[in-house]
Symmetry: C2
Subunit: 707 residues, 2 copies
Amino acid sequence: MSVRGEFRSVTADLKALLAPRSVAVIGASEDQSKFGGRVFRMLLKHGYDGAIYPINPNRPELFGLKTYPDIAATPQPADMVVMAIPQPKVRPTIAACAAAGVKGAIIITSKFSDAGPEGAAEEAELVRIARAGDMRLIGPNCLGVISPANRVVLCSSPALDVERLIESPIGFVSQSGALMATIFDRAHGQGIGFSHCVSVGNQADLELCDFVEYLIDDDRTQVICSYVEGIKDPARLIRLADRARERGKPWLMVKAGRTGAGAAAAYSHTASLAGSFRALEAVCRERGIVLMDDTDAMILLAASMARFPGRKVANVAIVTTSGGGGAITADRLTDKGIPLARFQPKTAARLDVVYSPGQANNPVDLGGRREGEAVDIAGATMQAVADDETVDATLFAITTAPSVSGIAANLADAAIPADKPFIFVLQPGRAADKARQELINRGLPFANNLDEAIRALAGWVDWSAWKPAAQASRPAALPDAPAAGTGALGEAETKALLASYGIPVNRGAIAADAAEAARISAGFAYPQVLKIVSSDIVHKSDVGGVVLDLADAAAVEAAAARMAETIATRQPGARIQGYLVQEMAASGIELIVGVNNDPQFGPIVMVGAGGVLVELIEDVALAPAPVSPETARAMLARLKIGKLLGGIRGKGPADIEAAADVIVRASWLAHDLRGSLHEIDINPLIVRGAGQGAVAVDGRALFRTEG
Amino acid sequence: MSVRGEFRSVTADLKALLAPRSVAVIGASEDQSKFGGRVFRMLLKHGYDGAIYPINPNRPELFGLKTYPDIAATPQPADMVVMAIPQPKVRPTIAACAAAGVKGAIIITSKFSDAGPEGAAEEAELVRIARAGDMRLIGPNCLGVISPANRVVLCSSPALDVERLIESPIGFVSQSGALMATIFDRAHGQGIGFSHCVSVGNQADLELCDFVEYLIDDDRTQVICSYVEGIKDPARLIRLADRARERGKPWLMVKAGRTGAGAAAAYSHTASLAGSFRALEAVCRERGIVLMDDTDAMILLAASMARFPGRKVANVAIVTTSGGGGAITADRLTDKGIPLARFQPKTAARLDVVYSPGQANNPVDLGGRREGEAVDIAGATMQAVADDETVDATLFAITTAPSVSGIAANLADAAIPADKPFIFVLQPGRAADKARQELINRGLPFANNLDEAIRALAGWVDWSAWKPAAQASRPAALPDAPAAGTGALGEAETKALLASYGIPVNRGAIAADAAEAARISAGFAYPQVLKIVSSDIVHKSDVGGVVLDLADAAAVEAAAARMAETIATRQPGARIQGYLVQEMAASGIELIVGVNNDPQFGPIVMVGAGGVLVELIEDVALAPAPVSPETARAMLARLKIGKLLGGIRGKGPADIEAAADVIVRASWLAHDLRGSLHEIDINPLIVRGAGQGAVAVDGRALFRTEG
């Protein structure tokens, strides 16, 4: 048994599996109603040039190929075996493959970990057998592999029933077999192919990241697409994201389970942990993985990026056959925050020659021409638009029109030499089929509906705007070995922890009773606030446990006495540990700063609009901890409330430096205590005017309970 | 010359035009590269059964039909004439038509009001000639009429090159000809037809609402679709919306120019006023017009509603061939706020028989079955889902799968007798073509991409949730004849106007100088606020013109003196009219209440999150003024800040009644002064705790300047 993973990279293994010299098909037959019959025919049809071993004990040969009664009977051990056999037969078959020296097996069969604990145990057994025999597994519960680059098809999907496979430099790894086949089929109809498509199923052995790594290293792949339900190895995802970027290969991802409803659906599907989407999103943002929510848009973007490697997109021009199409397209781009390019004067001047007065602007409507036919001015229009330095990409919104195929061809022929990103949207139905063929003939990707193109452009703009996060360096004077707490910490304990990391908190101390509260009060500045300290009370203000604006020691004493009475009425039995006497923070902008220790991605720091706004609007920015001051400032700038921090309506800017410093320190605190701290929350952090600092006014923390 | 519109409804006119007994085609020929040739052939091809008069001086007959040298030569005046001739020839041809007694003409030709003032003048001349001759016009700059219900095709689009027209009870009026043809073509490919499609072009005579009225009265139309760039007659739109609802006909609308970029594009297209989208949105919400932003989704929804007339949709079930498809679909529904049905126990019990443990829930993944093939359990699954009383509609998310056409057919055959709304999404490409045909054969609408189906369902949910607005009745004791102002009103004048409508304002008075400020101050309660009064100063706080929290008369006097100095430094030359001394309002929740007198729809009242939140988040609700207290409360409930008003985090609810009363009174004020008031703004309106009222703390108004 080799010690895989420590001595050789998975890419070497996968090269053998995805470009096998020999393939065995268990249950190969001529019967097209059976899996074995279909996968066998597809393998032959798409020109696989290695050795094929059909395994069938009942027939001497199939389509002129010699068959073998079982896997042990093949002349050489097959590099790859594919099987879709009844679940109880999988284990003995895998054992036979391992014994025969097979390198890899694709298990299409389901009802393993996808069907409950019993199936999971059986799946673990498969892995054990495979590992002992130095054999790798894809699946179970997967749909196999389609590799146009290697002319290897180990998949029975009806989507493969095409004349020929198209090879494009797009690799695709999918946690859903049906979606892989669906996307393959849809893309094929638009002239888009793949280098390799892999359905990973239950990922018993080989998992999504193994294939992403392979695609990063693969010369035939320029863009990586992935459909993800749950991440098995988050640290590896991060390493691979960095490596993909270094190789200049965009990595696009559709993640199911963004919402609670979607996560529930994904869970019942593959029994994999859907994970926290917010944390994944923060990680992808940091590492340059482009998260999308539509698989069609992902493929369109991949095909467009493959055509224009490394090209950045910010401002977009629209060229359309219809004013109506242009108007809707402009609306939809604006919805997504994608700016329309403002043409340079030279462009307007060139367009003015062929367009009616007032029409020479973005969107350009070919219908607004002075005379002649749209088809005649399409090329010149495109040249003028492509020459405009403010235009990064052009969206062709094509509606039904006379000579629509000529228009598409002329636009394409002008766009291709201009070598600037563009995307065609062909909105008609059959009336645009000839236009579609013109684009397919030129190898140009296109969308059949506007939404897909808009989402693709939005992904491109996101990808283009990516910048590496500044390295987070540890601020001076942080504690070397902070004391981890246990269980839930109250305000006072939390603030002590925050203060130990240099986060300013308002001064205060805990009194045992009203009389001590008065004594403590005298030592601080006024006004003051009095808060109950009780491990039984979660929302202090709900039970009268917070009194603001106390002007002197007598007022503090009276408030403490009243508070005890009120709580005795509102929450009888609540144990009171004391009374927290604090200086009241001056007013300012309220933020929330928190850290959540994601089970997959570790500590993620969050900042958002705080105070009551937390309940009203979702205005948050997240990043993996620790963060640099630059990242903290960028997070603040992404917030809606960032505008307020910058100063509006005669109010000067807030102390953004101080707020960023709190974010940085909180992120290091969470980083240092990541072994035990679940979450910590500062709400509100009051940010005062520039140079006046920020103060944590309330906070809570939750540590792992020992035991 | 008849006095049209006063004596007969437009519907009577349009019946003659859309079901003409005779049609003349100017420039009819056999040449398919010419408009006249194409429209002539389409008319013949699609079985028009009235008299056809080809107008062509150079040929004795065409396709066996006698031709006529000019319009005057036809045996009877044609009910309808269609022309796409050079612009300069349009006027004489229209004159000849009018002279010959033609009832209506479609002018395809462009370069009229769409091309500037000269063209607009020419267009006005066409209308004058037509009116004088009692003839109606469609266009110019339009694409004509496609009426499958009447087998009349007066349109040359290549989209018409189909075997036969499909008739469905969907009427469509479009301000874009290209979009009409595009939508017609796309719908046709999915087996969806229309009763009548009309492209209205520049609307020189007949306009969008004329045809909507016709469709409301038309027995062959059940659902009305419209693509709108600008509204010509807003009052009529409102009347027609009411009438469509009374007849039980949903009216769907895609409005281009929602965003600034879209409006600019729409403007350059049809030279019609894009209008304020927000105001239109408020009117549509009030009147039950369903606003959508995607034309494909509009047609899908129309076809689905036509199949299930009057059916309401709130909770949705997903049935899918793939867990991945189900997860993405669930995410996207959740994004749009559409709830997934929670199955009843009886449903889960029925599904449990055929599904693996833990799989019998929504979304239902046919792949999660215990055994056999998906096609075998599709019917039983659908029956169980359709029998569930919590399910209002089912979304079938179909990915590539073996027997996908059988699955689609079995789902459809179980869904049809269940008679509950459903929408199919066929996500594969060609692999689902047979499945598409199964649906087309059954007359069932479907989408080819998820986004379209999600948007259609969202529209259906909106339509289903519509309720008539309560009648607004005039509150007692409003002024009979309020005094209209002139130009911009400052805070004091605005508050006087508000107070005259019973809107509470904080007490105050204007002092000429610091000494008088002190005297006035003594008459009011403390704390107080001092504000500058100057018509030269827009943002008072920017120049030190607001001082808060003044505790006594001496403080007020000192503040006034300092204020004069500060302003002299910060805005030298600003003329100071005085110093406004006011009681400071107690703290509370800040709203903004405003009214904007929309040039098209009249006064629209708005409420939103006020104070600094106005700059940060767009949290507003609008309705046409005047409004009832019920509507005002519903507007507040729609706001994000509505949650805060309801009471959170130990704070009791705010005085929602008082806030609603201010909205009602502001709406009446704007209604009464609609002839002169442009806009009025209360910001903030401070809403205190329940029973403690609301106070307008600042306000501005803008009246029409006399002259």
